[in-house]
Chain length 343, copies 2
Amino acid sequence: MSNEQPETGRARRVTIFDVAAASGVSRGTISRYLNDSGYVSESARQAIKDAVEEVGYVPNTAARSLATRQTKNIAFVVHESHNMFYNDPNLGGMLTAANRVLSEADFQLVILILDTEQTLSRIAGHLRGGYVDGAILVSVRAEDPLLRIVQELGIPAAMAGRPAGASSVPWVDVDNVEAARGISARLVGTGRKRIAMIEGPETMRAARERLAGFTSAVGAHFDANLVIPTPDWGHESGFDAMREILRREPAVDGVFAACDAIAIGAMDALREAGKSVPGDVGVVGFDDSLWAKRSFPGLSTVRQPVEEMGARMAAMVLRQLKGEDLRHTHEIVPTSIVWRDSA
Amino acid sequence: MSNEQPETGRARRVTIFDVAAASGVSRGTISRYLNDSGYVSESARQAIKDAVEEVGYVPNTAARSLATRQTKNIAFVVHESHNMFYNDPNLGGMLTAANRVLSEADFQLVILILDTEQTLSRIAGHLRGGYVDGAILVSVRAEDPLLRIVQELGIPAAMAGRPAGASSVPWVDVDNVEAARGISARLVGTGRKRIAMIEGPETMRAARERLAGFTSAVGAHFDANLVIPTPDWGHESGFDAMREILRREPAVDGVFAACDAIAIGAMDALREAGKSVPGDVGVVGFDDSLWAKRSFPGLSTVRQPVEEMGARMAAMVLRQLKGEDLRHTHEIVPTSIVWRDSA
DNA sequence: TATGTATGTGTGCACGCTCACACATGTCTG
DNA sequence: CAGACATGTGTGAGCGTGCACACATACATA
């Protein structure tokens, strides 16, 4: 009696054999139908379609993956603490767009967050163990072990941002110099004379590039004494740096912060010092994060086309999956500027 | 010559047979070693360990999954636009904690974002196709088709928040009434007399529960005329609602906003009206989002133990995987209050 | 008529693993 | 000393697919 449906044993899965039985067609033909390989008659097609519906068939991913040696999964690896992960506005946009592009090609995005040594080995195992067919790497560090692993495995990959060292992995980046020049020019254009920059971590390429753009834009107004590097990209660092700038030059009337969080920190320091923005001091940032929209006054900043970047990285991976050799290539995408009230 | 290593054909994978050959032990023993099934001698264990290292063996997930009928994947399904996904501070915390718990049990979290009809069918396919062994559902709507699918499939699942209708899926939630009572009491305790609430969407259970807590806390000071519902949980809605409150009662001196975004919107409206916070009006929120920390002044708010919730949901899924029947059960986790400067 | 080509179909095997079972050995009991 | 039991090991079958190949059939061509 109780044998009809064993209590614990799960129900037998519906397989391609069931569809074969129900449709009167062989497994091979059904497989061709499922994979659009052609050579399926209209009558067979219809019979299979009905049978699939009738028996409630869904192809088994594991079996398919075992046979084809493909998983239809792409890893989206974020090298960042979880905390940053859900605060960074750029990541979400890249994720969204990459997911859209991959979905259309019938791939699934698997998000892996790399924040400790332990997760590194787990993720390495994932990449090696055939969990995924390719990888999109975001916020890769200099000398990143992850990048080394990906290159050793030779799996199709793409990364956001220009790599610090030598790397064969194709990448997508914005033109930091040009973007920084564009936004800094606004400060000059509105008549600011004593213009400072909060540079960000000096070891980061993006920071140095933004400084180059700034230098080029402010021209004769440039004063090396008003360029302050910070230990990180955080709000606190912006606050501290702005205080230091005010100490060095109380008459400062313009600030370019290398990212929005720093800019907001700077604005807090200005408020503390009794300076008005943009009345006394014009402030511009970089990223167009949520903070830029919500700050008071709204922060003028550089908007990076993160969706575009995400989509391009996904496309790069797909192209490699099709056999294209994209090693040592890259793409640069244009930025735009969002004018709000802070400058 | 060129046959030694075919150009396009990928290298043959290292399998358990290679480990068997290198170690002089049979497949069966290796499998037992890999799965900690016991009955492996110390000498065999050592030989296998060395061989694995030597040949660089990594178990193939697909094959394992095919044989065991388990994927070691758990879906984290977010029913929310991508945009909300990376703005909502609560999601990230749940994600982090769930990921940690599952990792420890050697499960992998797969994040699925449900934002269109199309993704719904893709996700349903995922759940049905044996991609995952279980699911954690976040921000489930009333009458959510996703919830129906999960229940039909009968796969181990857990969800955040009390379900609107009947559901057998176990859930974890905070005590909204108690939390709202706690934070509202502060307004009364600091001598506020004309206390308003911006309620949030009336159709949402959480909003109604928070209103109940508020009502209980303010007691005799309660004025139904100062309770304003909003169409959504957004910043703009908070701004509009606060303007309306100021119109109805210019002497308002306390506001409980049903979430932080609303609270920040309300503070913007107060600033516009020339009111100081907390001098003229005390403001409290709910969520302890990033906005609460960064607002000026810092927002006093309710901190939901999102990590705790995420961890508990993960544990619920794991327990079901082990055979426990958790249907129709739930857990309530306690909140805490973060006092900052806004009240 | 013999041959070629395009289309359509079915079968055996491989993918890499786990699990059940058969079997071997050693130790402890009565 | 026979039996029971725990420990350790190897082998065959099966998980559900895709793919190569053998094999049909229909029609066009020489």
